[in-house]
């Protein structure tokens, strides 16, 4: 973790997230410190209830630590207000969910553009970017389709395009292949491989070992703490770039 060649993108510093369940306090994250470096592709694994989703929510700035600090791309989030945190989400983060989570009344192109809509200063070339991304994920001919007119795999491709449109520092995926058949899941994972090869930073939560295998590094959690860290080779294209 003290490797000088790593540029930190997401830094958790003593993060604790507690939930109150009646009388009991549940620590979903317990004094958690970890750094995700630029260009790295991490799989987060662990048994159910180990704190994977909580970690991802904190990384995604939709949940706040009870204590500790979290820095995204150098920005400390501990003192940010709701608006500033939202701006961080719309500029720095890309989300891919298990159940795609597209907005039903919008078509493919509009869905891809949603994160730009919420930026304080939306880029002028937003629509062009969205078209390029749609092409990239193989949906150039479906721009005006509604989500209900697409298969699960296609919807997840739209979601990935949407996660890329704001050129995020960090892409977060929670069980992104969980709802897909194995062939389609492989296609989506191939897409993640491509993104990794381009130098994107990806954190993917999964409980499937063969999905975890494909990632560059694996982080295992247990009871809100790090159980093990397994590093793969540091050979990703973006790692040097």
């Amino acid at each position: 973790m003290s490797d000088p060649s790593r540029v930190p993108v997401a830094e958790l510093i003593g993060v604790t997230r507690e939930y109150r369940m009646g009388q009991n306090l549940v620590r979903a994250l317990d004094e958690f410190s970890f750094t995700f470096g630029r260009g790295e592709y991490w799989a987060v694994m662990g048994s159910s209830g180990s704190g994977k989703s909580t970690l991802l929510n904190v990384l995604g700035c939709i949940d706040r630590p009870t204590s500790g600090d979290y820095k995204v791309d150098g920005i400390s989030t501990a003192r940010l207000g709701d608006d500033e945190l939202s701006e961080v989400r719309s500029r720095k983060l890309g989300f891919v969910f298990q159940s795609y989570n597209l907005i039903p009344q919008l078509n493919v192109l509009e869905n891809i553009m949603v994160p730009l809509f919420y930026q304080d200063e939306p880029p002028a070339d937003g629509e062009e970017r969205a078209r390029k991304l749609a092409e990239r994920v193989g949906l150039a001919k479906r721009l005006d389709h509604k989500p209900t007119e697409l298969s699960g795999g296609q919807q997840q491709r739209v979601a990935i395009a949407r996660a890329l449109v704001n050129q995020p520092a960090l892409i977060l995926a929670d069980e992104a292949t969980g709802n897909l058949d194995s062939a389609t899941a492989l296609e989506i994972l191939a897409l993640f491989d491509e993104l990794h090869a381009e130098g994107r930073t990806i954190v993917l939560v999964t409980h499937e070992p063969d999905v975890g295998e494909r990632a560059q590094h694996v982080l295992r959690l247990k009871d809100g703490r790090i159980e093990s860290v397994k590093r793969g080779q540091n050979s990703a294209a973006g790692a040097q770039a």
Partner: protein, 424 residues
């Protein structure tokens, strides 16, 4: 919010509403009917009050009108069973008192009524036949349509001439001009020398003209000469003799500010000189003030009804929006995760409420403008649409959308994103 953003938010709101067309339409109904009924009722009320005020104004706002009225039966000086002489009403002496002693009085006009039928060829009419002075026209603001009114020469010459009101002329002479024709009042012939414009809005029912506001004017002296103070009135089989000197005295006051003063002076004078209450005093100015008060009350009542109906409409919108927010919890979570700020969520739902209520308001304005036209056509009532009514109704309906949208929008915006995303 920037220009493009607002346009997109509105577009998004409309597309969300179009997902549930029937529900959206039903939601707008409350505001729709609220708005339209306000506009329609205002138009009808305004029309009715304008009509009433015009009638009163025609009586002359500077005038005090004294009228003879038959005293109650038990006061009557009855003689035989079938023929009785009833003596009552205003007198020449009352007239002289006002004319010669009252200060602040400009002109005083006596009117005698002649209880006779009016005929021309085979057409017969029972108008109000009034023997009066030439100034009557000026004092009561009647307008000559054709020919002329009674003149001083007619008066001095005791001429057998008459002037017909528009309605009388139209009934007796449906196609030809009445000027120069000889009509019969009772058994005597009169030459028609002019017609006057109608005072109130004309009634369309011609059959009712027989006993409507048709009027015939003859010179006062002519009336005195041919029909004495004693006149026969046929009532329900029995003949009744009436002795009335003057049926009406119109007192024109010099300064409008003194109308009430003169009215009170008349009241006092008549009370002193008449043993029975065989007269009434009509003060158009007082009626006008009362009509305005009535209108004010009407407006308050209308305002309350309008507020209640818009309140109900607003609650309807709020109810549906709360359901929508719950239904779209997940969408809210997604948008928040993708970077939507609280104000984005607030404006999204607020815009939907405003689109609903403004849509309802616009449809309501259309319906509200159409209703008075229908009422005017079928119910023969006058309606007046003041330009402020639709504008006001529209603004209020938009306001209702904002007001009743705030709570659902706030609920949506303050949801916890993680919870919202977990929502099924």
């Amino acid at each position: 919010m920037k220009h493009g953003t607002l346009a997109r938010t509105v577009k998004l709101g409309i597309s969300s509403l179009l997902l549930h067309k029937l529900r959206s339409l039903l939601t707008t109904l409350g505001v729709l009917f609220g708005t339209s009924s306000v506009i329609a009722m205002l138009a009808i009320g305004e029309g009715a009050s304008e009509e009433a005020q015009e009638q009163i104004r025609q009586l002359g706002s500077r005038n005090v009108i004294l009228r003879s009225i038959k005293p109650r039966e038990d006061f009557a000086t009855g003689g035989g069973q079938s023929v009785r002489v009833l003596s009552y009403g205003l007198t020449e002496e009352d007239l002289a008192r006002i004319e010669e002693t009252f200060p602040g009085v400009a002109r005083v006009v006596p009117v005698r009524e002649i209880y006779e039928e009016v005929r021309f060829s085979d057409r017969m009419l029972n108008p109000r036949v009034m023997a009066t002075l030439p100034v009557y026209r000026d004092v009561t603001g009647r307008v000559v349509a054709e020919g002329r009114f009674i003149t001083d020469q007619d008066e001095y010459g005791v001429a057998n001439v008459c002037v017909l009101s528009y309605e009388a002329a139209r009934y007796l002479f449906p196609v030809t001009s009445p000027i120069g024709e000889e009509i019969k009042i009772g058994a005597d012939y009169y030459t028609v020398v002019g017609t006057t414009l109608d005072r109130v809005r004309q009634q369309s029912d011609l059959a009712a003209a027989g006993k409507s506001s048709a009027e015939v004017f003859i010179p006062l002296e002519t009336g005195r000469k041919w029909y004495g103070n004693m006149q026969v009135k046929l009532r329900a089989g029995s003949r009744e003799m009436e002795e009335v000197e003057l049926h009406e005295i119109v007192v024109e006051v010099e300064d409008p500010a003194n109308v009430e003063l003169v009215a009170n002076a008349c009241r006092e004078m008549l009370k002193r000189n008449h043993k029975q209450s065989d007269y009434e005093i009509v003060v158009p100015l007082e009626l006008l003030m009362r009509a305005e008060e009535t209108k004010r009350i009407f407006n308050i009542v209308l305002g309350s009804i309008a507020s209640i109906s818009l309140l109900v409409g607003g609650i309807g919108i709020m109810n549906v929006m709360l359901a929508t927010v719950t239904e779209r919890t997940r969408e809210i979570g997604i948008r928040r995760a993708l970077g939507a700020k609280r104000r984005h969520i607030v404006s999204q739902f607020l815009v939907e409420c405003v689109v609903l209520s403004v849509g309802g308001g616009l449809l309501g304005v259309v319906l509200g403008l159409a209703t008075p036209l229908v009422v005017e056509h079928y119910a023969e009532m006058r309606t007046i649409i003041t330009p402020t009514a639709p504008i006001l109704a529209f603004l209020i309906s938009s306001g209702v959308g904002v007001l009743f949208g705030i709570y659902p929008a706030w609920r949506a915006a303050t949801m916890d994103p993680v919870e919202a995303l977990r929502h099924e």
